[in-house]
Each structure stands twice: as structure tokens, then as C-alpha cells.
Amino acid sequence: MRLSSGTIRMIIPAASLAVLLVAVFYMQPRAMSYTGLNLLFNLAVPIALATIAQMLIMAVNDLDLSMGTFVSFTACVTATFLQSSPALGVLILLGAVAAYALMGIVIYVRQLPSIVVTLGMSFVWGGLAVLMLPSPGGEAPGWARWLMTSKPPYVPMAIVASIVIAVLTHLLVMRSSFGVLIRGVGGNARSVERAGWSVVGVRAAAYGLAGFFGVLSGIALVGLTTAADANIALRYTLLSIAGVILGGGEFVGGRISPIGAVIGALTLTLAGSFLSFMRISPDWQIGAQGAILIVVLALRLLLNRLEKRENNR
């Protein structure tokens, strides 16, 4: 049986996550429990949401360097306005989503490199966050806290949330007729345009959706941490890009996989945990993170070889 490239794009990340998980369970059997899994994965939820947001941008061949500061910004809004005056908070977040959509339009209409525009925006979001919370603080809205710490039966919240995110975005991006257009713009914008679609509209929608998932990421993050600061999620820019790639996505050509992206985010989080279970001298702990990333990706190559995909290229 020949596997389609889409299936392979999903199998390989899933397999590397499984291998890593087995290794973690082996080293720390205590992790193999309801609370254990929750502790391992609950901080992956906001990362997964940010990764999905990044993936939507990468689907239309762009790259968002402002994802980290944007999530920090939405986290600050969540911990301040959304908590104290929800109506105003919702308005601000809607404005942020609209700003994303606008960014998508401007980038296309003026043919600008997305990297530079989002780089500029990263300063803007960062500045707004610093203005809102000059020093760390704020408070998570009760419902966000409740949502992120609730304990559903049998399966911990972190896993439930990851699955829900993966399935919903898969339906949205891979199965819906609208998702096809987003990926089509990434694959060949010209032919989408020739088929009578408004490419600018599709891109605005993709950016707007990305903004929406960025907002969700900020809310989820504050729900977990209970408070925010202006630098809280700076790392999400790189993490989200790495998550998309780890999940089998590519920088150009609209080749993405939402399930893969969520798995990628989980893998990155798990790789960090794996490290703290190994007792390494503090000098080398940072380096070990790099080594783990390399091993996980080398695993990908191994699995790739097994699938004999190399021959097709």
C-alpha cells in the first residue's frame, strides 16, 4: 500500500511523540497517571494554540515573527481588561484579531515581506503589553482558570484540550471547503485567483483566524499561570515555528498539518520534561535540550527512511 504524502506527514510526528513518551514513562513511572499526564502536558495547550496560529500564517506562505509578543499581549489583556471589565476586554481582543486580518491584507496588497511586517508588529504588541502591565501582575478571569484546571473524568484536561484543538482545526483546515482555499493560496495563489476567488479575502481570513487562535493561546496561558506579564510568551515565536515544522509542515507551499502541529507542540513540551528527568549537570542542561531536539528530529529521519519516502523524491 502506498501512503499519501499527507498521511506520512502525520504518522512521523506521532511516532516520534510516542517514542519520547515511552522514554519519559520509563524514566518516571509516576508520569503515567492522570495527574502525571496533566502536569506533563497542560502547558502544551497554549503552545499548541499558538502553533496552530503560526501554522495558519505559514499555510499562506508567510511567517509570523510576532506570535510570541502577540500571545503575551493577549495574555496581558486577559489578565487585566478581560478580568476587570469583560466587555472592554472582548472589544480589545476583537480589535487584535481585526489587526491581524488587516495585516494579512496589507502584506498582500502592498506585496510586503511578512517577516518584516510581523517583526515590526512584534515591537508594537510588546510595547502595548508593557504599557498595560509595566510589572507582572493581573489576575486570570475565573472562567479561564476554571477551564484550564477543571478535571474531566478519566482523561486529564490537557489531553482533552489537545485532542479538541487538533480535531477542530483538522476539520477546519483540512476538511472544510474553506480550509482548501487557505491551503490553495499557499500552494498556488495565482491559480486560486484565476479561479475567481479573492486571494486577499482568503488571506485576511487566514490571518484573522491566526489572530483568533493567538487570542485563545493567551487566554489558555493566563488560565494556567493565573497572572501575566509582558514577556510571558516571547518564546512562543520560535516554539510555534518549530512546532509546525516538527509536525511535518513546511515553510512554503501550503503544506501543513494541524494534527501534526499539535503533536509538534506536545513533543516540544515533552522534550523539555524529558530533560529534567535526566539528572544532568546544570552546565549542560541547556545543551541537552538541543541534543534532545536533534534526537527527536533524527528519529523523524529514521521513520522517514522506514517509509522509504526518500525514494519518491
Binding site: 518516571q28 509516576r30 508520569a31 502525571g36 502536569l39 506533563l40 497542560n42 502547558l43 497554549p46 503552545i47 503589553a129 508593557v130 502591565l133 509595566p134 510589572s135 507582572p136 501582575g137 493581573g138 484546571t149 496561558l221 494556567l224 499561570t225 493565573t226 497572572a227 501575566a228 506579564d229 509582558a230 514577556n231 510571558i232 510568551a233 516571547l234 518564546r235 512562543y236 513540551t269 523539555g272 520534561s273 529534567s276 528527568f277 539528572r279 546544570p282 542542561q285 541547556i286 535540550q289 538541543g290
Partner: protein, 314 residues
């Protein structure tokens, strides 16, 4: 009796000399404690990136590993509260120091950063009663320590209106960033009488003044060896006067002992205060001698010191 207890250090950043000194002190004191059978283990964990989210994940992993106590130098006073709460719920003792957390279940070994800022102005007011223009080098925007020291400096200036802050830059507590920022604003500034800083940035500021051929003002230092050495050279050459103030990296060892005492069943108040380490014109040489080449002026704590600090707070 804590011989079978395990303590972990959760550290969010290892990328500067202060943090390295902190880790070294921790290593030195805890190794001794472990070999003496005071505690079973005292492992240090560092995250790759200075990020609250990453540290929160690290704390959650430490919970899974079943430590009895976690000593935290936190990336954010609030963003770790979720993870800290989970640790407390799992029955662990959480002690935060330097970068403290606000979660009520945790202990805090705090330095009064605001007072640290204020003390700089007080010193300057004494040294130059006529006042003058100040340049403020701040830390990383959005971080609480930066905000607190800045608040202290501002309070000091309000009390001493003869001083005026004519310029303010962010030096991110790094010599090269401070140098870059100061060099950029310096050409536009009038005569500067003194530079107030946050630590780790005084030498960079001095370099920038020297490069711009401006008279060197009184620069408040931050206890780094290169700063002290520069101060010493200036002092020997032209009688340069200033002060140096910072939190001692060895406070990690105090936190260790506090955690040990709590595990031992001692009643310890949730909020402890440690003095900051201040170096003045007269004790400069003595401190410089004690400081490792390229390191930071340091004080390490013993069990007795810790008990004194605990007792004082009672």
C-alpha cells in the same frame, strides 16, 4: 530530621555571571550538606530560555519527580503561581528568593529592591548635595525587579528634588546592551552628574562615557568584579568615589537552608527579608579581594546564618 528529604532548585536563567555565581554557591553549600547527610539530595535545574512558561513546566516536572521542597528563583512573580499552587497542593514546600512569587502558599526571601533604588539617590544626595542631572539605566522592561528598583529611584528623586533624571535607557542588566543604549543617548544629553543603575550595567555605562570622551560621572556599580576593578583603578588614579550595590548571589544558599528548616518542622514566617550587599569606598579593596576574577561579590550563608535570619523575622 531531613536526612531523607530531597530539595530541588528551579532556576530560570543561567546566562550571566550573577546566575553562574548563584549556581556555584548552591553547588558548593548543598554538596557539603548532602555529604554530611543533612539532606538526601539538592539538585539544580535550569531552563534554556528565560521564560516563565518554561519554568512553570519545569516546576511541574519537579512535582512529578517527588521532591519534598523546591527552591525557586522565579522568572515572574505571578506567572508561576499556577505551578507553585500545584506544588503546594502536592504537599511540597516552595521557597522563592531573588525573583520571588506572590502565591501565598510559598515562602519568600525578598530583597527590598525599592530600598535598593532609593539608597542610590540617598548616597548621591550625601555626596553631591547641590544635586544635578542623572542618567538612569534600567533593566528589562516588563520585569518586576526593574519596576521596583525604578520606583525606588523615583521615590528618591522626589525626596531630593535637586536631582533630575534627564535620560533613561533600558540596559537589560547586560554590559553590552547598556553600553549600546547609553552610547546612543549620550550625545544628546547635557552634563551628567551621576548614573543610577540596576546592576550588571555600570561598566558598560562607564565604557560608553569613555568612548564619547565625556567626563566620567559618579556611576553606581552593581558588585561585578569588572566594575569593582574599574572603580579601583579610577580610585587609584584620581580618587574616584562611588558605591556599589546588588543582591548577593549566595542568597540561593540561604533559601536552601530555609527550605531545610521548614522541612525540619521549624515555624518560619512566609516573608523574610535579606539585606542587599553594599560596597563602599572604604571596603572596596576588601570586597575586591574576596571576589572571584570575572565574578560577582558574594556572601554565602550557613545554617546558623539562616537560623538568625529566621529568628529575626519572628
Amino acid at each position: 530530621e531531613t536526612a531523607d528529604k530531597k530539595i530541588a532548585l528551579s532556576n530560570n536563567y543561567a546566562g550571566n555571571s550573577w546566575r553562574q555565581a548563584m549556581l556555584t554557591s548552591w553547588d558548593k553549600i548543598t554538596k557539603e550538606a548532602v555529604s554530611n547527610g543533612v539532606v538526601a539530595a539538592a539538585d539544580a535545574f535550569t531552563t534554556a530560555e528565560n521564560q516563565a512558561t518554561e519554568q512553570a513546566a519545569q516546576i511541574q516536572n519537579l512535582i512529578l519527580q517527588g521532591y519534598d521542597a523546591i527552591v525557586i528563583n522565579a522568572a515572574s512573580p505571578t506567572a508561576l503561581n499556577g505551578a507553585v499552587k500545584e506544588a503546594c497542593d502536592a504537599g511540597m514546600v516552595v521557597v522563592s528568593f531573588d525573583g520571588i512569587v506572590t502565591e501565598p502558599c510559598a515562602w519568600r526571601i525578598a530583597v527590598d529592591f525599592k530600598a535598593m533604588g532609593e539608597s542610590q539617590i540617598e548616597y548621591l544626595a550625601k555626596k553631591m548635595p547641590e544635586g544635578g542631572n542623572l542618567l538612569e539605566v534600567r533593566g528589562l522592561a516588563g520585569v518586576s525587579v526593574d519596576d521596583e528598583i525604578h520606583a525606588g529611584i523615583q521615590a528618591g528623586v522626589e525626596k531630593n528634588p535637586q536631582f533630575k533624571i534627564v535620560g533613561s535607557v533600558n540596559g537589560d542588566w547586560a554590559q553590552d546592551v547598556a553600553q549600546r543604549a547609553v552610547a546612543g543617548i549620550l550625545p544628546s544629553l547635557p552634563e551628567i552628574k551621576a548614573v543610577v543603575t540596576q546592576g550588571g550595567d555600570g561598566y558598560g555605562a562607564a565604557q560608553a562615557f569613555a568612548a564619547a570622551n565625556r567626563p566620567i560621572p559618579t556611576i553606581v556599580m552593581g558588585n561585578r568584579e569588572d566594575e569593582l576593578l574599574w572603580w579601583k583603578q579610577q580610585k587609584d588614579a584620581n580618587g574616584y568615589e562611588t558605591m556599589s550595590v546588588s543582591i548577593a548571589p549566595g542568597v540561593s544558599t540561604l533559601a536552601f537552608w530555609v527550605a531545610q528548616q521548614i522541612l525540619d518542622g521549624k515555624d518560619v514566617k512566609k516573608d523574610l527579608v535579606v539585606p542587599f550587599l553594599r560596597i563602599d569606598q572604604d571596603n572596596l579593596e576588601a570586597n575586591l579581594e574576596k571576589t572571584e576574577k570575572g565574578g560577582v561579590a558574594n556572601v554565602e550563608y550557613s545554617l546558623e546564618d539562616a537560623q538568625k535570619v529566621i529568628g529575626a523575622a519572628m
